[in-house]
Each structure stands twice: as C-alpha cells, then as structure tokens.
C-alpha cells in the first residue's frame, strides 16, 4: 500500500514538475513570440536567447514584499491565488499524455475537467472581494460573469463530442479519433471551443477582467510578490490545460496525423506536446493580433451566438448519428 502510494506520488511529480517548468517557459515563449510578431526581439539578455529569463523573474518575484491592504480580508486574500494555482495544476491528474498514460485514468474524466475548471471562478471572485478595492471588485464580477457564460457553450460542445464517442473517459475520447480527428467533421465546434477557451482563461481579445486601461489590472490590482505570481502562473497553467483539452477533444490527443510509417515512429506524448504547443502558439498569435472586445459584445457573442450555435449543432449531431446508425455502441 505504502509502496503504491509512493509510486503514484512519483508519477504525479513526473507530471507536476514538467508542468511548472512549462508554465515558467510559457511566459517566456509568449514574450518571444509576440516580440517576433512585432518585429523585435524578446528577452535576450539573461542566458542564451534569454532562456534564464523565466528563472530571473521567479527569483525576483519571490524576494518582493507581500503587501496585504489594510481593508482586505487577510486569509481570503492569500487563499485566492493559492486556490487558483492549485486548481490549475489539479486538473492535470486526468490528462492522458499517451495511451493510458494518465496519473488517474478515471471513467468520468471529462466531467472532472469540467468541474475543476468551473471551480476556477472562485479564485477570481474571492480575490476581487477580499482585496476591498473597487477595481478588483469590478474586475472579479466581470471575470465571473464571463467565465460562467462561456462555460455553457464549452459544456454543449463537449456533449457534441461525447455523442460521437459514447464514453466520458478521456482515453476513449482520443481513441475514438483513430479514423478521423474530430476537428474535421466538427470544425465549427472546434472554433467555438477554441474561442470559448480564450474567454474562459481571460486571454486577449477577451481579457476584460484585467482591462489594464480601465480597471488597471482587474481582480489582482492589490496583489504583489508571489501572491501576484501565483495568479499569473495560474492563468498560464490554465492556458496549457485548455490547449490540452483542445488537443484531446478535437486534435486526436497523442495520435499521429496519419497512421503510417514515418508518423508512427514518433512517440505519442511528443505528438501530444506538439499539439499543445501549436494551440499555445495560436493563443499568443490571437493576443498579438486582435483588439479587446467590449463587454456587451462579449456577452452577446457568448449567449446569442455561441450558445444557440452549439445547442443546434449538438441536436444536429445527435439526429445525424441516430439516423445513419453511426452512434457508438456505448460501454457496458
């Protein structure tokens, strides 16, 4: 029993440590890629190609003073970033990086992911309320309404995918795409899911909760030191998680693009990482390209376009699969 627990703990660390490093380097990647898109160089002083920049930032952040405003609720103020960051890591327990290569291969994996990403709202709400600053409060209200709105369409898109899979297990979802990745037959839903993922993680062009020009930094105005850093890292960890979800639901997870020789030589996890990197690149690309949405436009897009669209698509998928007898024969 003890040996088993130690083994699982080692497996968990084998996911968590690379994840932490990936989060640190994603911040560098974002600065580098955006710099390249704006015809300049990103961080290039610390280490070769600026590769040590991520660590320099971390060390700087950790040695700064943690300021807790006088009007703030001390416990909740520190609890909010802690919650945001640990939730972003917690979701990775079920993500399969290869065939059966997940720390926990539970049979309701997709529900677990949906539940964990719903809990993320609490971090921002608590942070905004606990700061006792008007900017933080408004930012957290906006963030909560935005995340909650786009979660509905994310849920409906996932149901469309599940209709074609017949199982809630993430492994089965990937294996159901052996013949064709779901991004081909469900291309509109792939786009809806990706844009909803941008809104869910509060990334540009939907970064209204931060809105640095009107809300100065939104729900984390009052944060400093690593309590700020944890929000920052949490946002980037959520980006990686959402890219992982896009890869699993639509891009065939760890499967190679074609099941023939040169592609099958590359190990599955490498394909998975490549797909995640592609999604992250698109995340950054969008940020460097589009201006920020207005709040009424954001809400209109979520409730009046994405929600009816994903609902109708789900009904059409169910009807089509039922009429053609192509429904997967579900597990026992």
């Amino acid at each position: 029993m003890i040996g088993q627990i130690i083994l699982i703990a080692l497996e968990a660390l084998a996911v968590l440590v690379p994840l932490l490093i990936a989060v640190a380097y994603l911040t560098l990647m974002e600065r580098k890629v955006m710099a390249a898109m704006q015809l300049r160089r990103g961080p290039n002083v610390n280490g070769i190609f600026g590769l040590l920049q991520a660590f320099a930032d971390a060390i700087k952040m950790i040695t700064k003073e943690t300021i807790i405003p006088a009007g703030a609720n001390r416990f909740l103020f520190l609890f909010a970033p802690f919650l945001t960051f640990s939730l972003a890591m917690l979701a990775w327990a079920v993500i399969p990086t290869g065939s059966g290569l997940a720390v926990a291969n539970i049979n309701v994996g997709i529900l677990y992911l949906l539940a964990i990403s719903s809990l993320g709202v609490y971090g921002t709400l608590i942070a905004g309320w606990a700061s006792n600053s008007k900017y933080a409060f408004l930012g957290s209200l906006r963030a909560a309404a935005q995340m909650v709105s786009y979660e509905v369409s994310i849920g409906l898109v996932i149901v469309s995918v599940l209709l074609a899979v017949g199982s809630l297990n993430l492994n089965d979802i990937v294996l159901a795409q052996q013949h064709i990745w779901f991004c081909v037959p469900m291309f509109p839903m792939f786009i809806v899911f990706f844009i909803s993922a941008l809104a869910e993680t509060g990334r540009a062009p939907f970064d209204l909760p931060e809105g640095e020009s009107e809300l100065v930094a939104g729900f984390f105005v009052e944060y400093s030191s690593l309590s700020f850093g944890l929000f920052f890292l949490g946002e980037y960890a959520n980006m990686i998680l959402m890219s992982g979800m896009v890869s699993i639901l639509f891009l065939g997870g760890w499967l190679p693009p074609l099941g023939i020789a040169p592609f099958t030589w590359v190990p599955g996890p490498l394909w998975f990482i490549a797909k995640i990197l592609f999604c992250l690149f698109v995340f950054i690309w969008t940020r460097a390209t589009f201006p920020r949405f207005r709040y009424d436009q954001l809400m209109r897009l979520g409730w009046k376009i994405f929600l009816p669209m994903s609902l109708l698509w789900m009904i059409a998928t169910a009807g089509f699969l039922l009429a053609t007898g192509m429904l997967p024969q579900g597990a026992s």
């Binding site: 040695t63 405003p69 640990s86 890591m89 079920v94 720390v103 926990a104 900017y135 100065v216 009807g319």
Partner: protein, 121 residues
Amino acid sequence: MTSTIDAYLPVLIFGVLAVVIAGAMLGASLVCGQQKPYAEKLTAYECGFEAFDDARRRFDVRFYLVSILFIIFDLEVAFLFPWAISLSRIGLLGFLSMMGFLGVLGIGFLYEWRKGALDWD
C-alpha cells in the same frame, strides 16, 4: 467499490501534492521577501485618491441575472451528459424525449432573449 477508490486514489495524491507545491511557493515568498508595511503602503489602490467608501457595495443586477441563467443552463448540460452517452441504447424515443426537454428550455431561452435579459448596453 474498491475499484472506484483505487481509481480516485491517484487524484487524491495528485491533489495533495499540487496543494503542497502551491502552499510552499506562497510560503517561500512570505519568508524570503522583506516585510516592511506602513499605513500609507497598505491603503487600497484607487489611482492615487483615498478610497471614497467601502468597495463591497451594490453592483449591477445583470451580473446576478447572468449567474441565474448559468445555473439553469449548467443543469441542462448536466442532463445532457448521461443522454449523450447512452443514446445508442435509448434510440429514437430517448432522442425525442430530450428534444421535448430542450424545446421547453428553448422557449424559456427565447423569452429571456426577447425580454432583453441577455443585453448589455
């Protein structure tokens, strides 16, 4: 039963480790950083002005409306999950029953739309 516990034990261990790492990072910054608080530094940041009043006060009712709508639609999604998995076994009748449910919900959604509950001006 045991198999369920076996399946979720890794989630628990993973969760504990994630919480420990997050806690350690937060704790390390509290220890490493120099803490020199004074009254001026601890005032709320409102672009240089003193805060006029407490921030925790009235807010726009539309945020409340959106959260109510979310609760309704999230419940709908919760009903759709088991239906989507078992559609091959419940066949046409199951499909039509869900269409009836979605029809009722759709009428509610149209009512909200026409009432302007989804508008932010």
